[in-house]
């Protein structure tokens, strides 16, 4: 059995779905196969040369093409565009997709799938790290997913390619370094039905709740294990789906522990979890036992230098130590 990487697994899901649905097409940036962006285009083009459109770096055109194809009834997939570059097309994403569906009473339903790369890794620097992803909170009517594993990434992509709903997948660069000993990965029906509705509880605990999404959930999980050795029992919740969000699991956990930690690799000036927190406070305000701890990247733009880059990559040890210090202080 060969090892399969995150990139290969998701491409195999894409190919399978494209065979089943002739409306699916791929729109991506022109990049060398196996290059930095790990574009699926060259691989998919072997089987479906007419259903792959690769463009130079002109992000607005790329997204515009996607939305236009969507309006015409196609099911376009924007392949691995750095989340920062999506900002150039933000107006189109916000004002065209959801409002058009509303204005036409649902008769015109656009369901593009956008795969966006996030995360400071491999010298992604200030322009490719997706640190401004909090703006995607404005995408009303979109599903926003952030997988933390190969299985989850495949399940979310498969679901996005099947369902008639606009979907944005925030895929962390470090996911593409994961590999597993499976030939192919086929998500089960149960996974597909739950993936957008249930947050996953990675570790159980009574002392505090850690909330993270995407690859950072791996870090949160490791941090929780380190904390457990120091007798701090953390409940780690992974939000695979940021929108819709499983508030039920979050509210139950925070009401139980009374302490909330938000972990995110974005600057502190606003994040996707901040919006969630405001919503959450409606329900857990009186159960909180301490101020909410937000663990974020530095506010400075990420550096290109690999030596400096690690300061923008939260490590489990650092996160665990930050949480332990905070927890000890709160417990007095």
């Amino acid at each position: 059995m060969s090892r399969i990487t995150y990139g290969e697994a998701t491409v195999s899901v894409l190919l399978e779905k494209m065979r089943a649905d002739p409306r699916l097409c791929l729109i991506g940036l022109r990049a060398a196969p196996g290059g930095h962006l790990q574009s699926a285009g060259p691989i998919v083009a072997k089987d479906f040369p007419k259903r792959v459109q690769e463009l130079p770096s002109c992000e607005r055109s790329l997204v515009g093409l996607c939305l236009g194809a969507s309006l015409a009834g196609a099911r376009p997939v924007v392949d691995l565009l750095p989340a920062d570059w999506l900002l150039y097309s933000l107006g189109d994403l916000i004002y065209n997709v959801n409002p058009i569906s509303h204005l036409t009473g649902g008769r015109v339903a656009m369901a593009p799938v956008v795969r966006a790369l996030v995360g400071t890794h491999l010298s992604s620097g200030p322009f490719l790290s997706g640190t401004t992803r909090q703006v995607f909170r404005q995408l009303r009517g979109w599903r926003i997913g952030a997988p933390m594993s190969i299985q989850e990434g495949c399940a979310m992509l498969a679901s996005a390619l099947t369902d008639q709903q606009p979907t944005l997948l925030l895929e962390h660069r470090r996911l593409f370094e994961l590999s597993e000993d499976v030939a192919t990965y086929r998500p089960s029906d149960e996974e597909l039905s739950d993936i957008w509705s249930r947050a996953r509880v990675l570790t159980s605990g009574d002392h505090l709740t850690i909330v993270a999404y995407g690859f950072l959930s791996q870090v949160a999980f490791e941090a929780a294990q380190l904390l457990e050795r120091q007798r701090v029992l953390a409940e780690t919740i992974h939000l695979a789906s940021l929108a819709p969000c499983d508030r039920q699991t979050l509210v139950a956990s925070v009401a139980k522990t009374g302490k909330l930690v938000l972990l995110e690799d974005t600057p502190p000036q606003g994040s996707l979890l901040d919006g969630l927190l405001v919503n959450l406070l409606d329900y857990v305000f009186e159960w909180l036992d301490a101020p909410v701890l937000r663990i974020h990247n530095p506010s400075e733009p990420p550096a290109y230098s690999p030596a400096l880059e690690r300061y923008w990559q939260p490590a489990a040890e650092t996160v665990a130590e930050t949480i332990r210090t905070w927890f000890t202080k709160q417990e007095g």
């Binding site: 509303h102 204005l103 925070v254 036992d289």
Partner: protein
């Protein structure tokens, strides 16, 4: 079959302004004729007849030019020839838009989820939790806790302003009065204030739901103060630290307390204590009843219990927060250890 004339979303907004009617109720309109114009700046949409017929507007609540129209609001009907104009459907008026519509509504099921998941934990506002932590209070032990509502700071921080209802109910000898005192000094109530303040200063760290000062007449003249929290202070120790000084019984105080105690007693006043906030008045409410209690040696007997409620008001009538007042009072007490130990 009548064609319904429904207000669309203009500029993506659920509300717009009706600018003008181009036809009146009963008018014959041809297909494509203008009927009305709706505006949501900077866009304007003119509704046109999609078929020829008579325009019928509602008999009531026809939007006038300049009024707000909601998306989906029924503006009227177009009846093609042959339809019965009298056979009009009921007019569905849009609900009034109030502030309630704009409020983000809380999901009751989620609130219940939180309550279930929290188990035995006590809901409290962050300020209340902080106050309780500062005063080393167990939230679960706060008396007269609201049954469903979360604890607020007022439930913990200013308990003296709220007399205990149960105390009033059972008190056969209950009486209540108010004494006003200020730094310029009405001499008689001053004594009461000072005596009460001293007692309160012992109990303030764990103060909750009024301050029940228990003593026997001999307790005052002998050696002990007792507080509801169980803290005791030796009068001798307090005197040694300069917190107390003996004064002669005050006439008003005698009247006030003797009525309750029915026996002579002496008042010990805290030395060095003056009113912490100048030009402010303290209002004290006293209540007393005789009830069984254990004395300092653990023997059961009937004692007089006295409840002291203190509020502090500035000269302009504004209430001074209890914790501010208490903080100043403690500063006045200085660094002496009030525990007597």
């Amino acid at each position: 079959m009548a064609t319904r004339l429904v207000a669309p979303a203009v500029n993506g907004s659920a509300r717009c302004v009706l600018q003008a009617w181009w036809a009146e109720s009963g008018d014959w309109v041809n297909e494509g004729d203008r009927i009305c114009t709706l505006v949501h700046s900077p866009y304007a949409v003119t509704l046109r007849a999609i078929e020829s017929g008579f325009l019928k507007l509602p008999d009531q609540a026809v939007p006038t030019p300049g009024s707000t129209v909601h998306q989906g609001q029924l503006l009227g009907w177009i009846f093609s020839p042959g339809n019965d104009l009298e056979d009009l459907p009921e007019i569905a008026l849009p609900p009034l838009v109030t502030a309630e519509h704009w409020k983000v509504k809380r999901d009751v099921a989620l609130l219940e989820t939180a309550r279930r998941a929290a188990g035995d934990r006590i809901p409290a506002s962050p300020r209340a939790r902080r106050r309780a932590r500062e005063r080393k209070l167990d939230l679960a032990a706060i008396p007269n806790r609201p049954a469903t509502a979360p604890l607020r700071e007022r439930d913990i921080a200013v308990p003296l302003d709220r007399p205990a209802a149960s105390f009033d109910r059972v008190s056969p000898a209950f009486f209540q009065t108010e004494l006003h005192w200020n730094s310029a000094g009405a001499p008689a109530p001053d004594s009461v204030v000072r005596a009460a303040l001293l007692s309160l200063s012992r109990t303030a760290p764990t103060l909750h739901e009024g301050c029940l000062v228990r003593w026997t007449p001999s307790g005052w003249t002998m050696d002990f103060f007792e507080s509801p929290a169980g803290a005791t202070m030796s009068a001798a120790a307090a005197r040694k630290k300069g917190l107390l000084e003996k004064t002669s019984p005050d006439r008003e105080v005698s009247w006030l307390l003797c009525d309750a105690l029915q026996s002579p007693f002496e008042v010990w006043l805290p030395g060095r204590v003056s009113h912490p906030i100048p030009r402010a008045a303290v209002v004290i409410a006293l209540g007393a009843l005789r009830q069984p209690a254990a004395d300092i040696s653990g023997r059961g007997k009937n004692v007089w219990s006295m409840k002291v409620t203190i509020s502090c008001y500035r000269a302009d009538g504004v209430s001074v927060p209890w914790d501010v007042w208490l903080e100043r009072f403690r500063e006045q007490l200085g660094s002496a250890d009030p525990s007597g130990g």
